[in-house]
């Protein structure tokens, strides 16, 4: 492997569109094509088209594919029916989060695990290590797929122009194989924006044709190409965690307020899985004496909190740390996600501020998410 960033199958397309590119987890990815705020608003009000080919796909097959995933991941994967997907996590033996994942059950004995680009190798290595003793195969499919996402309220209408697949019957967190613009695709109703939308897993060789077909089909509906910059502000408003920020190996799912993804009872085994004992303790601790909690913060002023900035009480005591922060296009104010001491985590807690380069700027504590779409 070289140090040069990897390029997706859509690299030339991005450059022709004048994208500002950025190195992201070893990939050269579009950061934005024009104004990231305009791209953000397009996804909230119309539709946006993303290249997410950096995401890491791993295929698990075999008679004990479900058993392997129930053991390797924290969720009840054996309980996912064919054609459905599940948001889950993979933890180490200490309960620390190695990555958050979406797992699609493609067939009775076939799953696709989608990992963050930055963690795909870690996830692959862990799955291979945990495979021992299971009649199941772990396949690195990172080079097997390009991933395009159409997100936003207009996305069902746009996709319907290009496919005969039953999109109305495709629920949130479901996926089915189909054909889009003549291209074989796994059509999934998933996303990371807080909007309705679809993720289309296709062969890399088909990516450009699909991108062009989607761009054309979405033109009248106001679909625009969107980069990773607006993807980050969209997920932040939607209160969705990002690995490396809200989630790390030093946090358990319970610390992150996502204990619901951990299932101590599983379909295919007696509940044994990597990290079980540590996570049972973490669950207990989160219930009885949580050290810190993940909250939302909304600015009164206009200066923007950034990851790593300290959250302080009225007397200046450090009570937490910002994990993600950005100007929110929807709220028109800076927002942040932060871990704060449990005593300050109640929405409406007075006197909470963020230390923005030496000045304590007042912030309102709110429950996540900042934004929830109207259904």
């Amino acid at each position: 492997m070289t140090d040069a960033p990897r390029r997706t199958a859509l690299d030339a397309t991005h450059r022709a569109l004048g994208a500002t590119m950025t190195d992201f987890a070893g990939w050269d990815m579009p950061l934005r094509y024009g104004s990231e705020r305009d791209e953000h608003v397009a996804v909230r009000t119309r539709a946006g088209l993303f290249d997410l080919s950096h995401m890491g796909e791993i295929t698990i097959t075999g008679p004990q594919a479900a058993e392997l995933l129930d053991y390797a991941l924290v969720g009840n994967i054996g309980g996912v029916t064919t054609g459905r997907a599940r948001y889950t996590m993979i933890c180490n033996a200490e309960g620390g989060i190695l990555d958050d994942l979406i797992v699609y059950r493609l067939a009775d004995q076939e799953y696709m695990v989608v990992a963050n680009a930055s963690n795909a190798q870690v996830v692959l290595d862990a799955l291979i290590e945990r495979q021992a003793g299971f009649d199941a195969a772990v396949r690195d499919d990172r080079d097997g797929y390009a991933l395009l996402a159409v997100q936003g309220p207009e996305s069902p209408g746009i996709l319907k122009r290009l496919t005969d697949a039953d999109l109305d019957g495709l629920k949130y967190y479901a996926g089915l194989p189909g054909t889009v613009a003549g291209v074989d695709a796994l059509i999934a109703r998933t996303g990371y924006t807080g909007e309705d939308g679809f993720e289309l897993f296709v062969r890399p060789a088909d990516a450009v044709a699909l991108w062009e077909a989607l761009s054309e089909a979405g033109k009248d509906a106001g679909l625009v190409p969107c980069g990773l910059s607006c993807r980050d502000t969209l997920r932040l408003e939607a209160g969705m965690p990002l690995y490396g920020h809200e989630l790390t190996t030093a946090t358990t799912p319970f610390d992150a307020g996502l204990g619901r993804v951990v299932k101590f009872e599983k379909t295919t085994n007696d509940g044994d899985f990597v990290g079980r004992a540590a996570l049972a303790e973490a669950a207990e601790r989160a219930e009885t004496e949580p050290p810190r909690k993940l909250v939302g913060l909304i600015a009164s002023g206009r200066r923007v909190p950034r990851a790593g900035y300290q959250v302080v009480a009225a007397d200046g005591t450090v009570i937490g740390e910002v994990t993600s922060g950005a100007p929110s296009p929807t709220l028109g104010k800076p927002i942040a996600i932060a871990y704060v001491d449990a005593a300050y985590a109640t929405p409406g807690t007075e006197g909470v501020a963020v230390d923005i380069r030496g000045t304590h700027e007042p912030y309102e504590v709110v429950a996540l998410p900042f934004y929830k779409r109207q259904k």
């Binding site: 500002t20 950061l31 104004s35 990231e36 206009r302 200066r303 100007p327």
Partner: protein, 125 residues
């Protein structure tokens, strides 16, 4: 993009006009505005403040980051652009015009101000 010939530039990506009665107008270049992305908040020095060439005199917040605004010359602030404080997107849409930041009465300037061609060469590197 083109950098107006009549302006002078710094390596910190500010531009300034030729002085009239000792006063120059200062902004950031289109190159800098594009690199920042959408500017969401601009903090400027106050009128009457003294600034020192090469030192931070304000900040520009964009979606992804915060950047210092560096004084291109020594001098005293005589006017700031209230329009930019109200609508920071002017820095992106009109970096050389409506997106100007402040006017400064110059008391001294460094030797390393760049011509438009020198700045164009500098940002190619």
């Amino acid at each position: 993009m083109s950098n107006p010939q009549q302006l002078r530039y710094t390596e910190e990506h500010e531009w300034l006009t030729a002085a009239e009665d000792g006063v120059s107008t200062v902004g950031i270049t289109e190159h800098a505005a594009n690199a920042l992305g959408d500017v969401v908040f601009v903090q400027l020095p106050e009128v009457g403040a003294t600034i020192t060439a090469g030192e931070s005199c304000g900040e520009l917040e964009s979606t992804k980051s915060v950047s210092d605004l560096y004084a291109p010359v020594n001098g005293e602030i005589v006017e700031i652009n209230e329009d930019v404080l109200a609508d920071s997107s002017l820095v992106n849409s009109e970096p050389f015009e409506g997106g100007w930041l402040f006017k400064v009465k110059i008391s001294g300037e460094p030797n390393k101000l760049l011509s438009a061609d020198e700045y164009a060469a500098f940002i190619q590197v």
